[in-house]
């Protein structure tokens, strides 16, 4: 247990020591999105009868949770691999499960810290309601953990930072952008609507949004089932890779 807590503590300290980059910067980015899109579209667009800025906030929060959770575990691992300091966690008798949970929890924590940061700042702009905080928390935790685990896979897999950037630009960004952060998928043409239903991020954002407004494109239970299954599958895969020492032990 001490081994696990130490690894978790180290992972948290790693991003907290540079919190300006890892927490404050993403909050600012989200604010810029909100100010620009919110300002331009507030008077023109309503979704589910909700003002556009209000509608946008949960999507932006979730987007930051996901991207930062992913960035945390992936950059930590690839940095350790490139500098060679990965040996410090490979030499001790840490079980695979501790390794997995420590990285995922730290990644989720950073994601949620950024998410809370975005929420706290947006409270100044919009009077935001939270109908069902339980759903909000549940989706934030599960989705952050899922992307933390995906970040682990990416960090273990890639060998260079530019490969990681490709992963982020060609997979993570499109998945999050095309998931309904900026719109309800029911405003899309049928083809894209159908396609969105195969994007797990759509369910994360939709379920998360349900927690705020009590309305959503699909039922939150359905979304929860999808997100939980994806998390379970990703976790099993990550654990299997760790157990084999894939790309970590030659």
């Amino acid at each position: 247990m001490i081994g696990f807590w130490t690894l978790f503590y180290k992972e948290v300290l790693r991003f907290w020591k540079v919190a300006f980059q890892t927490v404050a910067a993403p909050v600012l980015t989200a604010m810029l999105y909100l100010m620009i899109f919110g300002h331009v579209l507030e008077d023109h667009v309503r979704v589910h009868g909700i003002g556009y800025t209000s509608f946008l906030i949960p999507g932006l929060v979730m987007m930051q949770v996901l991207q930062n959770a992913f960035a945390n575990s992936s950059s930590s691992l690839i940095q350790a691999k490139i500098t060679g300091s990965i040996v410090f966690v490979l030499l001790p008798p840490l079980p695979y499960s501790s390794f997995f949970i420590a990285y995922v929890l730290a990644a989720m924590l950073r994601g949620i810290m950024v998410g809370v940061g975005v929420l706290l700042v947006t409270v100044w702009f919009v009077d935001l309601q939270v109908v069902a905080p339980g759903w909000v928390l549940l989706f934030a935790v599960l989705s952050g953990a899922l992307f933390g685990a995906l970040g682990m896979i990416a960090g273990i897999w890639v060998e260079k930072f530019d490969q990681l950037a490709a992963f982020q630009n060609f997979l993570i960004m499109p998945l999050t952008m095309l998931s309904g952060v900026f719109y309800s998928i029911y405003t899309l043409p049928t083809f894209w609507q159908r396609l969105s239903h195969y994007n797990p991020v759509f369910y994360m954002i939709d379920g998360f949004r349900y927690g705020f407004f009590g309305v959503s494109d699909v039922s939150p239970v359905h979304s929860l089932a999808v997100v939980a299954s994806c998390f379970a599958l990703t976790s099993l895969l990550t654990l299997a890779l760790l157990k084999r020492g894939w790309k970590l032990r030659t």
Binding site: G3, T6, L91
Partner: protein, 239 residues
């Protein structure tokens, strides 16, 4: 008495290269053992397999009877490894680095022992310095310190003195000798053969993943009267 390290028929290939080519070797508890050989002989590969950083194609390695694959947690607890590469985590100070490393081994409050290690490695004045601000030799010493935080019975040093100044080399060897005197098994690789000659009670000479010679330092030297270990080394390699 079970051997500190037991290596049985190990094979490790990288593509067509046989980095470890059917090597077998026992290292007894309490030995100060020298693992010598030219660049590329397979020393680091053998240590990596021992530490669980590399997986063998075949054969097995046990640390005090614990298989390094099947029983990896126990084996790793018994092992302290100083890697050859000069690696460090730039986010932390020396003391943070050592506390974190202790934690990984399940040790919570370790500052008394950490202070002692820092003292013997002449790092006390750098305890709160960030790893980035240390010189190369100092970073190497921190690597030694990291390998010792959990007082492992078997200590493996892969070229610990590369880039370390004379004075500290003496200090380091004094410390390692003391640990050996207290019963820790020491396994050492180095290209400074006078060091090996002075420190090691038994020596393995390896080349291309195979064992060329394995004997006590005294016997090795006696077989080549009047020669230094360096000459013995060169003659053995040419055979």
């Amino acid at each position: 008495m079970i051997p500190a390290v037991s290596i049985v028929d190990v094979v490790k290939t990288f593509g067509s290269l046989r980095a470890l080519d059917g090597l077998s070797l026992d290292i007894q508890q309490g030995e100060f053992f020298g693992l010598l050989g030219p660049n590329g002989a397979g020393k680091t590969t053998l240590i990596s397999a021992l530490a669980g950083l590399a997986r063998l194609d075949s054969g097995c390695i046990r640390v005090l009877g614990h298989d390094v694959v099947r029983d990896f947690r126990q084996a790793r607890r018994l092992l302290g490894v100083v890697p050859q590469e000069l690696v460090f985590d730039p986010f932390f100070s020396v003391r943070e680095t050592l506390r974190i490393q202790s934690g990984y081994f399940g040790i919570r409050r370790n500052d008394d022992w950490i202070d002692e290690i820092l003292h013997h490695l002449d790092l006390t004045s750098k305890a709160d310095a960030n790893m980035r601000r240390l010189s190369g030799g100092m970073k190497r010493r921190v690597l030694v310190a990291q390998a010792l935080v959990h007082k492992p019975p078997v200590i493996v040093l892969d070229e610990p003195t590369a880039g370390v100044d004379v004075e500290l080399r003496q200090g380091l060897w004094q410390f390692v000798r003391r640990l050996n005197g207290e019963g820790h098994t020491i396994i050492l690789t180095t290209h400074y053969l006078e060091e090996a000659e002075a420190l090691c009670n038994r020596i393995a000479l390896m080349k291309q993943g195979q064992l060329l010679a394995l004997d006590s330092t005294v016997n090795l030297m006696a077989a080549h009267p009047g020669a230094s270990l360096e000459e013995v080394f060169l003659r053995t390699m040419q055979r």
